[in-house]
């Protein structure tokens, strides 16, 4: 009797997996500063403030509810963190002082680590940017634009040629990257840093 009951219950979608109640804490502790994530009262100030909410699949508030519900895959698949423009409107308005923008950074890096993002445009842009920094110590706009657009938005290139030429001809974009002197020191720092993680 009991067995049948369990069997019938497991058919329900909610019983496929056990809820992952550690997720919220995991995200909170991997966030720089004190995130206050557990204090969210689901008021929606963040979702109402967000300038790019229209293009998000979940509002930030909904994402935090999903974190609480332990919906790891759904959260890491969400495009919400990638659409965050870091305007900090939500952060200063949040009545519970949740460091929303920083939580978004955490979710992005978690998604990258888990290879769980839906669209690789944004992660690749960030990675390209970071590769340049790691190589030169400075950002390199032309190299970034070239590599990134060829890979992701080749169709956009012709339309942007005029603008690109304008930037180059006014020397607002440099043809060659500049490099810091002590690039080896920076590399040593970053190599060490990559072995470290923020947990508790």
């Amino acid at each position: 009797m009991a067995q049948t009951k369990t069997a019938s219950l497991t058919k329900g979608a909610g019983f496929k997996k056990q809820e992952d109640l550690t997720l919220l804490n995991e995200v909170s502790s991997a966030t720089a500063g004190v995130s206050h994530l557990e204090m969210c009262i689901q008021c929606g100030t963040c979702g109402g403030s967000c300038p790019s909410a229209a293009d998000m699949d979940h509002t930030p508030r909904a994402l935090f509810a999903m974190l609480r519900a332990g919906m790891r895959d759904e959260v890491l698949h969400s495009n919400t963190p990638w659409m965050c423009v870091s305007c900090y409107h939500c952060v200063v308005r949040c009545p519970q002082e949740v460091h929303i923008a920083d939580v978004m950074y955490t979710l992005k890096s978690m998604a990258i680590k888990a290879h769980q993002y839906k669209d690789n445009t944004a992660p690749d842009f960030s990675q390209t940017f970071v590769d340049n920094i790691e190589a030169f110590g400075r950002s390199y706009e032309l190299g970034l634009a070239g590599r990134f657009y060829l890979q992701h938005q080749p169709l956009r290139l012709p339309g942007m040629a005029g603008m690109g030429w304008g930037m180059l001809s006014s020397r607002r974009m440099n043809i060659l990257p500049s490099r810091i002197e002590q690039i080896d020191q920076l590399k040593a720092i970053l190599t060490k840093a990559k072995t470290l993680e923020l947990t508790s």
């Binding site: 929606g44 979702g47 109402g48 967000c50 909410a53 508030r61 002082e97």
Partner: protein, 663 residues
């Protein structure tokens, strides 16, 4: 002295059900006290499930009688809860109450620690401390002081009026002090009251008139308390009566002066900045008292020396430009503070645009706008004074439940907002949106009112509004205010264009609450509200005997709760008055005159001027009627010539020894 004879001590350890026994090994504490504290005089140690029960108390009484106990130590809860219980029990058995002490092993041990072994150890050392101390306790007698039957009520809002009327009707005299020109408080500004929709003025003004004409009430408006000294039973109060420039003895309140005054200023107080008033004015038509007051900073006569229109036309020559502020001293036995609240300044929430966007209104502005005696005669219009809104957004929790402003819930805003929605729908037919985080409608008939407003077609959106802007993004938004919000129940961001936004401002402690508290010797919580003696069981008393609090001075409240508190505070005062005298704790300092060197350091140390220098004998002496027992002089006396009963050096030293005894 005591070394030869250790008094017989009984130790009683309470389980408090599992409250203590769950974390402290009660049996171990009892055994330890019996064995290890035997040399300190403990002759009996017992434990019991509930010491405060009548059976528990009888246990103590029996031991006092049968074993001849001379001291009783009860290890249980905080002395602030049950000290009186056990002292009374011991007294019944013939032991002076001050020979019984409580050790707090619940609030200070079992409730705040988790490790049973460590908690038990701490309980033992606390018991040891008190056992050592109590040997030096001496029998004390309570002092009785007669109570002055007059009462001071500060604040003439509905809570203060209620308190004053209750006491006055019982036949005792009340001084009702109000700093505005009229009593009535915030309630006088409202249009309707939720959930019954009674007209606020209709139910308030009869009370105001009653207070204004009551033979037992001395009404002192346009006055403020500046200084309070003394103690329960006999407070000396100094009141500043600000100059009205109107002779109250001859003024009939006919209003001709106001009519003839040529100057109008914006009324930032009663009309919340939406309307105008004359410079000689009564705040509103039903003001009590009816005497007007001249707004000196704005008066042309005081500015330029000419005008005097009011004086010219006054039929009874009541205008008196030479009037000056005066101080009045009174003596009262008890004081009730009903000083109310300040409205949260909505301009602080920059993203709602109050003060920048004309058609964003504060809650009190809307009250005036919808009031038939208000600036538009009750017409609900936009800031232009003409246009009727077609869509209205009402925003809850403005300044409340927000760590950027105030953490607490202001408790009235949900109902206030529902009331606004109803009034807007009824008077304009406009579409009304309510933006809320949570609907809080817990009191009698409140949720029913929510149902009614739902039924009227108000559009509820669950979400805290992020922003109100005039920056249109789309053509249909042009000229409107756009409310940005996440509809959290849909999970989507919405932009809702409206004509008018009403903010449901929260409540804040009075801006000068701290200062007022210091005048009366009571303190504020971190939020700034006055602290009750006990938040549940003693909500209208304060830590200071004889000072009571009522209404919003202790936290946000609606009208029924404020009225109930006003009445409750009055009942507490009447209880005191009818006892005719008050018992004072016998904790006092006294000078051992043969040890006194006459240095007089203590004289200046005493805040109550209770220590006087006796010139003939060249010693200082404490006046026990003035001494309050703080003990500062005891600590300060360089010769050790002052002792403090209840907290003598011997007692404290012994307690330190006991606490540090290895357990």
């Amino acid at each position: 002295m005591i070394e030869n004879h250790k008094p017989k001590i009984g130790v009683y350890v309470c389980h408090c059900g599992s409250n203590i026994a769950g974390t402290v090994n009660v049996d171990d504490v009892r055994k330890w006290a019996q064995e290890k504290l035997g040399p300190e005089g403990v002759v009996i140690a017992r434990d019991y499930k509930f010491m405060c029960s009548s059976l528990g108390q009888e246990l103590i009484e029996k031991d006092i009688k049968e074993l001849g106990l001379e001291r009783v130590v009860v290890a249980a809860c905080s002395p602030h809860l049950h000290e009186k219980t056990f002292r009374t029990a011991a007294e019944k058995a013939g032991l002076n109450p001050y020979l019984t002490e409580l050790v707090s092993i619940r609030e200070q041990v079992s409730w705040v620690h988790t490790d049973k072994a460590i908690a038990t150890e701490k309980a033992k050392s606390l018991v040891s401390g008190t056992v050592q101390r109590i040997a030096y306790n001496t029998p004390l007698e309570k002092q009785k002081v007669p109570i002055n039957a007059n009462t001071l009520v500060v604040g003439g809002g509905i809570a203060g009026i209620q308190a004053a009327l209750e006491i006055a009707n019982a036949g005792f005299h009340v001084y009702l002090v109000e700093r505005e020109p009229s009593i009535g408080g915030h309630m006088a500004q409202f249009d309707k009251t939720f959930p019954t929709l009674d007209c606020s003025a209709c139910i308030l003004t009869p009370r105001m008139v009653e207070a204004g004409t009551h033979p037992n009430i001395t009404l002192m408006t346009w006055s403020e308390v500046t200084n309070v000294s003394g103690f329960v039973g006999n407070f000396d109060v100094r009141i500043l009566k600000k100059a009205r420039y109107v002779n109250e003895d001859v003024c009939t309140g006919c209003g001709i002066c106001t009519e003839k005054c040529p100057k109008k200023v914006i009324d930032t107080h009663y009309e919340a900045g939406l309307g105008y008033r004359k410079v000689v004015y009564t705040p509103f038509a039903q003001a009590v008292p009816r005497f007007p007051v001249i707004d000196r900073p704005n008066c042309t006569f005081f500015q330029k020396g000419t005008c005097k229109a009011c004086e010219k036309f006054c039929p009874t020559n009541a205008i008196d430009f030479k009037q000056e502020d005066e101080f009045i001293n009174i003596t009262v036995g008890n004081i009730i503070l009903a000083t109310g609240y300040d409205l949260f300044d909505a301009g602080r929430v920059t993203n709602y645009g109050y003060g920048r966007l004309p058609n964003v209104f504060s809650s009190i502005e809307f009250e005036r706008l919808s009031n038939s005696a208000g600036p538009t005669g009750g017409e609900i219009t936009l800031r232009d004074g003409k246009t009727k809104p077609e869509t209205v957004g009402i925003i809850h929790c403005v300044g409340s439940r927000d760590k950027n402003f105030n953490n607490y819930c202001s408790s009235i805003c949900c109902m206030q907002s529902l009331k606004f929605a109803h009034i807007v729908r009824e008077r304009t037919g406009a579409d009304v949106y309510e933006f809320y985080i949570d609907m809080r409608t817990p009191m009698k008939a409140y949720d029913e009112f929510y149902q009614r407003v739902l039924d009227e077609g108000t559009l509820f959106v669950r979400g805290k509004v992020a922003e109100v802007t005039n920056a249109a993004r789309y053509p249909h938004e042009k000229g409107k205010l756009i409310i940005h919000v996440e509809d959290t129940l849909v999970g989507k961001q919405r932009r809702i264009p409206v004509d008018m936004v009403i903010l449901s401002n929260g409540m804040e402690p009075r801006h000068d609450a701290k200062q007022t508290g210091q005048t009366f010797g009571i303190s504020c919580s971190s939020d700034g509200w006055y602290i009750e003696r006990h938040p549940k069981l003693d909500p209208v008393s304060t830590m200071t005997e004889g000072i009571y609090i009522a209404g919003c001075a202790t936290g946000p409240k609606d009208i029924p709760a404020s009225v109930a508190q006003g009445a409750a505070a009055a009942a507490r005062v009447l209880d005191k008055i009818l006892q005719k005298e008050v018992e004072m704790e016998p904790i006092r300092a006294s000078v051992i005159e043969e040890n006194c060197s006459g240095c007089r350091i203590c004289n200046s140390m005493c805040p109550f001027n209770a220590i006087a220098f006796i010139g003939d004998l060249k010693v200082s002496r404490v006046n026990p009627a003035l001494c309050q027992g703080c003990g500062t002089c005891v600590a300060a006396c360089p010769a050790g010539a002052i002792t403090g009963t209840g907290f003598s050096n011997e007692q404290i030293f012994a307690q330190i020894d006991g606490l540090l005894m290895t357990v």
